[in-house]
């Protein structure tokens, strides 16, 4: 069953063709270069870019998958969460195609898509992955940080989430405080490798409570206080560089530590009721190698860890939307084009 999937939730215009969990094409027109100079996503630019690109990306995806529109069985689109005026562009296009080819429309939650990025296969059907339910998913990105209990396909329960800033956002903000540019994640990760992660003992967020919720606002503030104190005007270039890499490493240590600890708490709490064997780590921040390394170290002995199956699946992309839509297609969870509205705050 072939699906054309569209994701325009933020700053990537992406269209994919999937068949079950196989990805036949996954085209992403990145806008990062355009947003870079603003230090983040700019809604109006995002919308304009989506509008300019969508038609072309749809064609590219169909060509890449060697598929004609009439061969499709359904159209899937991200309904939310995301940037309202960006979501609209993808939704409009999806409705248009669905009506044009007379095939059903499936509305997908972007976060559900991130979960399914770990099930996506290449054209030949590799790798072969199976989950055992219930499982625990940690979804980390610029806009989200949440722990989700997944009892079955389509059955989700958020058991913890950020109370203020998302972890990816904290990376961006710290990068900006250190004047490092955007996006902050890859830059901080890179600099952190050269720094001493114990140089500045930042408080690990939310350690006083046993809840599974996250908070990165306090950590961000601590980094701000520290940089104001140590990055004074009189210091030499070498000293400055040293401080920056040490701040990056120390910040990353605290950020990762909180993700690991909260996941541990969630597993302990859920362990009383469920037998959990699988952990999914997905979303843009899951591309961070230090995070994955720490997860492997702590969890791989007792759990099976799942990450997005290739590097195009970490960030926002439409292939994961198509894979997620596959289960909805089987169940017949369709939406009438007229009823499909953007839901910028949609939650699992």
């Amino acid at each position: 069953m072939k699906i054309l999937a569209i994701d325009t939730s933020c700053d990537e215009t992406s269209v994919a063709i999937t068949d079950g969990t196989r990805v036949l094409a996954n085209k992403i027109s990145s806008q990062i270069e355009f947003h870079k100079k603003w230090g983040g996503v700019v809604p109006s630019i995002a919308r304009t870019m989506h509008q300019e690109n969508i038609e072309h990306v749809v064609k590219e995806a169909l060509r890449g998958a060697k598929i004609k529109p009439e061969d499709l069985d359904a159209v899937a689109v991200t309904q939310g969460p995301g940037l309202a005026i960006a979501l609209e562009v993808g939704i409009r296009k999806a409705k248009e195609i669905s009506v044009q080819i007379g095939k059903p429309l499936i509305a997908i939650n972007h976060m559900e898509g991130h979960i399914y990025s770990t099930l996506a296969q290449n054209k030949s059907g590799n790798p072969k992955i199976t989950y055992e339910f219930p499982l625990l998913a940690l979804l980390v990105s610029g806009g989200h940080t949440e722990l989700v209990l997944m009892k079955n396909h389509g059955e989700y329960k958020i058991i913890g989430q950020t109370l203020d800033d998302a972890v990816g956002e904290a990376y961006d903000k710290v990068a900006r405080m250190l004047e490092l540019g955007y996006p902050g994640g890859p830059i901080i990760e890179k600099l952190a490798k050269e720094g001493n992660q114990d140089a500045f003992p930042f408080p690990i967020p939310m350690m006083k409570t046993r809840s599974c919720d996250f908070s990165y606002s306090g950590l961000k503030t601590s980094v701000l206080y520290l940089t104001q104190k140590v990055l004074t005007e009189g210091i030499s270039k070498t000293e400055k560089k040293k401080i920056i890499v040490d701040v990056a490493a120390s910040f990353q240590k605290a950020a990762i530590e909180s993700l690991v600890r909260k996941t541990q708490i969630a597993l302990e709490d859920l362990g009383e009721e469920f037998e959990i064997k699988d952990i999914i780590l997905a979303g843009g921040v899951s591309a961070n190698l230090a995070l994955r390394k720490e997860f492997r170290k702590i969890f791989s002995e007792n759990y099976r860890l799942h990450y997005p199956t290739n590097k195009k699946l970490y960030g926002d992309n439409a292939a994961m939307i198509g894979v997620a839509a596959h289960h909805h297609l089987e169940k017949g969870n369709f939406t009438q084009p007229i009823d499909l509205e953007r839901l910028p705050n949609l939650s699992l």
């Binding site: 983040g40 996503v41 809604p43 940037l83 309202a84």
Partner: protein, 384 residues
């Protein structure tokens, strides 16, 4: 010419008496004005802002006459001039907030709206029973009011929607003969300095709200210290509570200023709680704008569109005005929503654009020497 015709013409011309301030002893003006008012007549008089039209506020006949002069009011309330807070209290309930304004700003170009006591003629109070009171910063007017011992109306002397009256010709050139004939006495002080009509402040909602911005830029500033995020949230709750009754017909814009980590989102969380929003309110930095449906039974629900909370963050965007334009904010402002805008000091043009249509509250959050302590300064009115 026939005598009767002559008399008629004479009356037409002499329907109103004009007393020039420069040529008439003050005593005489006060006496003439008081007599005219007490016999139910209308007078045009100068104030520190524009020319006003006065009628005895307690006399139904006089008010009816005034209302036929000020046509097309569409339920707009009149305001009254008194000579003291003591006189004001006979006609309105002066609560603590109003008292504060009387004591600090009056006499002056400010009209304080309070709950009326229904002791004036019909048509003076608003339909909802409120009444605007003014103590003009113009001694002559206060003396006239003192002489008659009762309030007079203090609405501007232009016919509704016409030019603001700074001299007598501004008035006479813009009204019909019929309206002219209703005027009994004109106190002519020449051309007045061009000042805006009074600032109108509503004190009936539990706080002060500027209904019309005049020259006086009332900045009511409160300074508070909070010691935790929870306390900052609580402050947000308290603040929006005062403005909830505007939901659905007037937008309330919370303009938040403060460094990274100051607690701007915390403040907004409190606001959201008070507005019945159950979803967690997270930082909007990443996507610039987040929207939440307001769940509350207060305010006006007559509108098709339900009121929303728009949470915005200008931190990352450089072209703030263009971005707000793209998000359609100026249009949304007219619909009666709540806007919480972080890094608001980067959007000054936007605030100028909406200052007439929305209620703007500035909130500045600052770090102090103590780690979790914040100094929060709330200015309820437009910035100086």
């Amino acid at each position: 010419m026939h005598l009767i015709k002559k008399l008629k013409l004479y009356r037409m011309q002499m329907m109103h008496k004009v007393l020039k301030i420069s040529e008439t002893p003050t005593e005489e003006i006060i006496r003439e004005a008081a007599n005219t008012l007490l016999s139910g007549g209308l007078i045009i008089f100068p104030t520190e802002t524009v020319y006003g039209i006065g009628a005895l506020a307690t006399e139904q006949k006089a008010i009816d006459k005034l209302l036929s002069y000020k046509t097309r009011r569409e339920g707009k309330p009149l305001s009254i001039a008194v000579d003291s807070i003591k006189m004001a209290q006979e006609y309105v309930e002066v609560n603590d907030i109003a008292r504060n304004l009387y004591e600090n700003f009056l006499p002056g170009p400010i009209t304080v709206v309070s709950r009326g006591k229904h002791t004036v003629a019909n048509g003076v109070e608003s339909e909802s029973g409120t009444l605007g009171v003014r103590i003009p910063d113009y001694e002559l007017v206060r003396d006239i009011v003192k002489k008659i011992g009762k309030p007079i109306t203090a609405t501007s002397a232009n016919a509704s929607y016409k030019k603001k009256p700074y001299n007598i010709n501004d008035i006479l050139n813009n009204v019909s003969d019929k309206q002219k004939n209703l005027i009994d006495l004109i106190i002519d002080a020449g051309t007045l300095p061009k000042r805006e009509p009074s600032t109108v402040v509503d004190t009936t909602g539990g706080g002060e709200t500027v209904l019309r911005q005049g020259d006086v830029r009332l900045t009511k500033v409160r300074e508070t210290t909070t010691e935790s995020g929870e306390q900052t949230q609580e402050l947000g709750r308290e603040l929006i509570r005062k403005y909830k009754h505007y939901l659905g017909y007037k937008s309330v814009v919370l303009a938040l200023e403060g460094e990274l980590g100051a607690g701007k989102t915390e403040f907004t969380k409190g606001v959201a709680k008070e507005l019945g929003i159950k979803e967690p309110v997270l930082s909007p930095t990443f996507i610039v704008e987040k929207e939440y449906q307001i769940e509350t039974t207060e305010g006006s629900y007559a509108r098709e569109k339900k009121p929303m909370l728009y949470h915005l963050d200008t931190w990352r965007i450089t072209e703030v005005e263009a971005e707000f334009e793209a998000l359609g904010l100026v249009d949304k402002i007219s619909e009666g929503h709540v806007f919480s805008i972080e890094w608001a000091d980067r959007a000054t043009e936007f605030f100028e654009k909406v200052s007439e249509t929305a209620i703007i509250v500035w909130i500045k959050i600052e770090h102090t020497d103590k780690e979790n302590e914040r100094k929060i300064t709330i200015s309820d009115f437009a910035k100086e």
